[in-house]
């Protein structure tokens, strides 16, 4: 091979670069534990699921349970509330989702009770759609927990859950 007129990097240049690179990797490796310690810890992750007895929840009633440090609403919906939720046209929704996509059994609506705007806990049986209304900035949800009015961008989230029996539901 012909030796070009281009100045070839010296061994010293290579050592400088290599040292710098190792130093940078070391800094990142050291920074990560300092940052990651703020993420949810093992004891928080361990509280991943709860079981709830639903037999005592009367029709029309909303039970608020605590799951992963925050509220989950378990709503025993009345016939009228189910009808309202099912008959809402998707075109009227900001975050379109059918009621069937949001429930496993029509009479039970289970949603995370945290407003998708800025995290306040909405009040049940309030607002124009008789679902929830958030006291902070006035977001209104319907009987399927879908956002209908106000600044919240999304429907109330549906957590992972399964009915273990007719009266027992496992959330998480």
């Amino acid at each position: 091979m012909s030796t070009a007129a281009v100045e070839t990097p010296s061994r010293r240049d290579f050592l400088y670069l290599a040292t710098g690179a190792v130093g940078a990797v070391g800094l990142v490796a050291l920074a990560w534990p300092l940052i990651d310690q703020m993420n949810p810890d093992a004891s928080t992750l361990a509280l991943a699921s709860i079981e709830v007895d639903t037999s005592a929840i009367a029709e029309g009633q909303i039970l608020t349970v605590k799951w992963r440090g925050g509220p989950v609403f378990i709503r025993h919906r009345t016939k009228k509330e189910i009808e309202e939720a099912v008959n809402t046209p998707l075109s009227a929704l900001k975050d379109p989702q059918t009621d069937a996509e949001r429930v496993k059994k029509p009479e039970w609506l289970i949603v995370i009770g945290v407003c998708t705007h800025l995290g306040c806990v909405p009040l049940g049986h309030e607002g124009e759609y008789d679902g929830w209304k958030c006291p902070c900035h006035g977001s209104v949800y319907d009987t399927s927990g879908r956002i209908r009015q106000g600044p919240a961008p999304l429907n109330l989230a549906v957590p992972e859950y399964a009915f273990l029996s007719d009266t027992k539901v496992k959330i998480g």
Partner: protein, 419 residues
């Protein structure tokens, strides 16, 4: 910080020390013989008042930390313990909570003074930006301090503010979980907020040192906005003139502060915060502390979550760009008739937004909040750049001494005529 020091050590020990660490000379040139424009009014005393408030907050805060226990299980009870059991605990806590409010009152007067007299203009841009950084740090500190008593309003405030970050596309939720150390505001959140609430005031001290340093490099602005041309004619020395004036103004400020602490200590606090935090219930009417209300009103005025959050942060960050948004070559609002008019409209917008932020949302309040938000941003990004181009300013005095003497001249003439 200001030219050559004229400090002469008096004793042999002082001479020995000064040769090794010239800190006495620095103090002497910065706070004794430092030249102060002779036309400063009482609005220029708020820098000193703010320094006193920062020290007062740190002293009361360090004491409170001796008795406060940062954990979700004990925080609320430990604050009650401070109020009921600790000797003078009630006094120290009321000094600290009301101190935050008076700190902000002073900083708002300080900032509006800076805007009115064009104190951010060249060569004081860095001085101004350091001030905006201090203001941001103050807001972060005050917010985290408000969470510590772990009342229901503390919890709601922590939830709403940290949820602002969920508006960030894609990574928002992960960022929020990282901030919380869980899936909602909880015990880990409280503990890290306490740690940071203790740390940030010392960072504020650091930036304040830079702020004062920058001030002493470029010199103080003054109500007429003209530079010091002749130190002999245009200035007086810091001590006793500025020192005594600052102490007098601070004493008056202290009277107001003490009146709140001793007679209406809970006036600025929210009754809901006397209930312990409950993650399953949000208080019916959540309101931030008064000093954050204008930004809260801007957030609520905008129906879209992401745009609302962006507007809230923009309302603060835009302040840092004032030196370049204001295109007028004339510093002081005193000589800018149009600016003066729009400045007061801007003040009305800020105060109006503050009022609306404290009210419950209705269609009416939302509409007015939108108009006032438009006024707030309009002043910063439309009015200020345009005014520099179209405004016909009044003639500015050639020197500070001229400005002062022209004011007193008619008085002299009048007394002369009477005698």
């Amino acid at each position: 910080m200001s030219g050559t020091s004229t400090y002469v050590p008096k004793s042999a020990l002082a001479r020995w020390f000064e040769a090794r660490l010239p800190i006495m000379g620095l103090m002497h040139s910065s706070f004794i013989v430092y030249p102060v424009p002779r036309n400063l009014n009482y609005l220029w005393t708020f820098g000193a008042i703010l320094s006193f408030m920062l020290i007062a907050q740190i002293i009361t805060g360090v004491i409170l930390a001796m008795h406060y226990v940062a954990s979700a299980a004990t925080a609320f009870a430990s604050v009650e313990h401070i109020m009921r059991d600790v000797n003078y605990g009630w006094l120290i806590r009321y000094l600290h909570t009301n101190g935050a409010s008076f700190f902000f009152l002073a900083v708002y007067i300080h900032m509006f003074r800076g805007i009115y007299y064009g104190s951010y203009k060249a060569p004081r841009e860095v001085l101004w930006i350091l001030g905006v950084i201090i203001y941001l740090l103050m807001m972060a500190t005050a917010f985290m301090g408000y969470v510590l008593p772990w009342g229901s309003m503390s919890f709601a405030g922590a939830t709403v503010i940290t949820n602002l970050f969920t508006a960030i596309p894609l990574v928002g939720t992960s960022v929020a979980h990282w901030l919380w150390g869980g899936y909602a505001v909880g015990d880990p959140t409280l503990k890290r907020f306490f740690s940071l609430h203790y740390l940030l005031p010392f960072m504020i001290v650091g930036v304040v040192v830079l702020h004062v340093w920058a001030l002493h490099v470029v010199g103080q602005n003054n109500p007429d906005g003209v530079d010091v041309k002749n130190v002999e004619r245009d200035t007086v020395i810091f001590t006793p003139y500025a020192t005594i004036k600052d102490i007098f103004a601070f004493s008056v400020f202290l009277i107001l502060y003490a009146w709140f602490v001793f007679f209406i200590p809970n006036y600025l606090l929210d009754a809901d915060n006397s209930n312990i935090a409950n993650p399953l219930v949000t208080p019916a009417h959540i309101v931030p502390e008064w000093y954050l209300l204008p930004f809260y009103a801007i957030l609520r005025a905008i129906p879209n979550k992401l745009i609302g959050v962006v507007a809230l942060f923009a309302a603060i960050v835009l302040l840092a760009f004032l030196p370049w948004l204001d295109t007028s070559p004339v510093r002081s609002g005193k000589y800018r008739p149009l600016f003066k008019f729009f400045f007061w409209i801007f003040v009305v917008c800020c105060v109006g937004l503050g009022y609306l932020g404290s009210q419950e949302v209705s269609d009416g309040t939302t509409l007015v909040a939108r108009i006032l938000s438009a006024g707030y941003f309009g002043f910063l990004v439309i009015v200020l750049p345009l005014l520099g181009l179209i405004e016909k300013t009044k003639p500015i005095p050639a020197t500070i001494a001229d400005a002062v003497l022209s004011k007193s001249a008619p008085v002299l003439a009048k007394t002369g005529a009477a005698s």
